[in-house]
Symmetry: C2
Subunit: 596 residues, 2 copies
Amino acid sequence: MLDKTSDIAIAAESWLAEFEAALVKPDDGALQKLFHPDSYWRDALALSWTLQTVNGRDDVLQALKALAFKTAPSSFAIAPDRAAPRKVMRAGTDCIEAIFNFETRAGRGNGIIRLIPDASDGNRPKAWTLLTALEELKGFEEQLGSSRPRGAAHSRDFRGPNWLDLRNASSDYSTRDPTVLIVGGGQAGLAIAARLKQLQVDTLIVDRWPRIGDNWRKRYHALTLHNQVQVNHLPYMPFPPNWPTYIPKDKLANWFESYVDAMELNFWTSTEFESGSYGEKEGRWTVTLRRNGEPRLMHPRHVVLATGVSGIPNIPEISGLKDFAGKVVHSSRYDDGENWAGKRALVIGTGNSGHDIAQDLHSSGADVTLVQRSSTLITNIEPSAQLAYSAYNEGTLEDNDLIAASMPVVLARRSHVMLTEQSKQLDQKLLEGLERVGFKLDFGEGGTGWQFKYLSRGGGYYFNVGCSDLVVSGAVKLKQFADIDTFVAAGARLKSGEIVPADLIVLATGYRPQEELVRKLFGDAMAKRVGPIWGFGDGQELRNMYARTPQPGLWFIAGSLAQCRINSKYLALQIKAIEEGLIPRLAPEATEAAVA
Amino acid sequence: MLDKTSDIAIAAESWLAEFEAALVKPDDGALQKLFHPDSYWRDALALSWTLQTVNGRDDVLQALKALAFKTAPSSFAIAPDRAAPRKVMRAGTDCIEAIFNFETRAGRGNGIIRLIPDASDGNRPKAWTLLTALEELKGFEEQLGSSRPRGAAHSRDFRGPNWLDLRNASSDYSTRDPTVLIVGGGQAGLAIAARLKQLQVDTLIVDRWPRIGDNWRKRYHALTLHNQVQVNHLPYMPFPPNWPTYIPKDKLANWFESYVDAMELNFWTSTEFESGSYGEKEGRWTVTLRRNGEPRLMHPRHVVLATGVSGIPNIPEISGLKDFAGKVVHSSRYDDGENWAGKRALVIGTGNSGHDIAQDLHSSGADVTLVQRSSTLITNIEPSAQLAYSAYNEGTLEDNDLIAASMPVVLARRSHVMLTEQSKQLDQKLLEGLERVGFKLDFGEGGTGWQFKYLSRGGGYYFNVGCSDLVVSGAVKLKQFADIDTFVAAGARLKSGEIVPADLIVLATGYRPQEELVRKLFGDAMAKRVGPIWGFGDGQELRNMYARTPQPGLWFIAGSLAQCRINSKYLALQIKAIEEGLIPRLAPEATEAAVA
């Protein structure tokens, strides 16, 4: 295809110009000529007001024409202050990739166009993937940089409330309710709160822990993040350049404290969210909080559940476990191996938690047996587990986030199949060793690797930082759960009759689906209305994530630090759009479903 | 002169190439041809291992040849990742300005060359100003970005100390002494500590206040910074883009707390530095600290006084003040106007503190009289007071800091004369009003404005945020100190016989020179050896600031947030160079002076 930088830019510019012109033509022909048969369109709010992916030219064209008519996108142009149009390989395909800006009636957006040659049409460059993403709402732009708040009020009104007085009053909520109540003060809650603050939406975070950052601080002693710092920045306040590659839990926890203050977020610690109900007529929630033990009623217009994929511990029914004489604890309540030197531990579950806890116990001098319930994906933390993030090693965070948002899930799966193959090669020695000791390996659904295990079920893999090596060497023993008959007072009794003695059993058995949290907080009817949360199901987007749900005013945000950073932007813009009357509280499809 | 961007770049590149070649030539001729008769050279460590400015071609050439011989500068090239060569106006002169990189035997540096036409030589572009600045020491580069620490140790050693354990141990100093002890935990101390940490020099900050940031937090209620956020970043951790233009004191104080944690600085609060003496033979100090009341001896190799220009209050001898029946307080101990509603206050001193305190008292309902002791420079906070920082409104912080470092003081004065003239015009209405009520105005020494009043004596000006308007309107009364005969129990008795009654007298009378802090902590002999601190005297550099002093192992850092950010880098590099044996503890000139 084209080689010279200028040719590449011209190809991208031409495509955008023709695209803009074709959008306003009544007939299909002009638009069809621009898209490859195997093309994809992802929209993040700009035209659809939701997060949606459409696969295949026919469906793409149909959706585009319908939504373009309503939103009037225009002024498509290569973004001058971002990575220039270039040739790259994505999901194994060479393409021209260009970042562009555009406008709609209600906002300004940016996007990415990828062009590949259409062999059936003289190798003319056509759209392979298109992303149209909302960047800001006209009239409600964020106050950043040169449009930052002045603070002049503090300079001139000497006896008026100063900054600290205003912060304290803002966090008080004794005489007002927040517009948005966020449940959970980890990275998900912090990211959405910071974005909403930037859009001047009155927001309160409530969190059960006594200190900001405890969701990390209270984890086990040796925990660090398992992917690299440059991927994990929070919005508006990137980690400094001297921070370690793998951020230790306490350092991250303290940064969360700094973040709340620097971003001027309202955050109530030691506050439980007990229950809530929605008033259709008023368009408000009635929620019951318990703050430092004291009840408080609130009436936010929106509730965002940001408790993460790791909310309600999954305690499986295990035969005989009630007869076990020793200590039983779910991985989420596991504290420290310190007390178990010289003791014997069974760790049931071979995901990340199971392995980390087994390693912690082993390092503390315990005799550890890992019990495998289902096959697990194992990969070394370096280089394999970081392959998925290689794009973040260069270029700006903003560009890389847009690139991440631009990949339709079909192509993301394709990418990860290739990365998983590559990882298999790199991890060969380790994987052979694990197989030798009977560990059951998998490589994800359809070989899509750990990323899609995470996106589908929130776990089922382990980034090896040493425990797998202990399993291979036998220093940590391995048993298959299927070989266990039942549990007895002394430990586990295998089908062979052998007793595996234990003083401690750790259930590293994951978490319940978030639907159960909805049921617990809001009742069966609402859980039924909302449906499954997380995972793709048969669709192209994570279900009920970062967008309007079938329950007006109820939202969900979860995932990695990167997902929270990227998607909090779009979630915040939707809430703002609703508050400013630009879109309805219920998405059209949901309205139709509700009416049906 | 040259107009096209490419011509400008070529002119700069040619000059650098000829400069590099001429430096190694035995005769003067080649080098002389490159410099304008009216030229200046500033070196920040790279060739001279200190901060020095040389004025005039002859002296520049002589110094260059001597120092180039020792340090072997080479590889001069336009810096590809910084602002490209361009035409600009500096200090009223049009010039070509280019940022370049280079190397020396011991380090890597960057600099700025400014070229102007030499009318006596066919308008050939020649060096007008040259900056050569050390950026890093070979073998001791900072670990940033892709060379950041990995944190892998935390990932793999599950029972070893984790990050928090290591931070606590690092701050403990129960079994070791810091290499560098920093006295004062405001922006000066924080900046130098962060830079030293990056160079892996074991550093401890001690500060008398109970909480990090108290040096700002404990100031009066309405205080905000008086210049804009983009100028005031601390090293490595710029303020987020959503921060207000004028940062409120509590917000800044809290950022300091975050900074200490994020930069992993060792900081002891509630710790007084009582005294110290230097052991020549051991090359170490013996210092006495008092931490939470408990004494502690320490033996650092270096002591950095970072208590700022506002260290020891200046309480002038004032006739009859001991007879005054009301309350007397120095501005540094002034708390809040709240208690003075309906009372009468005399505020003696018309610098920034005096005006701010007068405005605070007035806003609290007190009857306020400002008493002027000497002429004062008054300028409106906007736009006039910000004119000096206009360069920071665009371009990168690093480029702007290098530009600031590159201006010899002679040209900086020239710049400020022009800015002061411009300010006079902009402030005309206010200044006329002040003169009408008898306020005595000045415009700095030789009309160099507020910046040089600050650099010479640390005060003597006020950025009007409202108090001058109150003085003009008479809402705040004005008296001249010269009209006061003496103080009496009731207040001030004027020479006319009139009594000006008061309940409160605030002495906004500034601070003692830092030499007195040296005397107080270290004794007369050391104060004599060190000499005057701050101000230019007859020289081109701030005396005893950011560089080796006549006392081995004793350093000073003070000034604005910008000065601390810029100069902490050079101060840290000198300490590191000494610790690594690259340069001696005492600068050569000082050694000569000591031996003489």
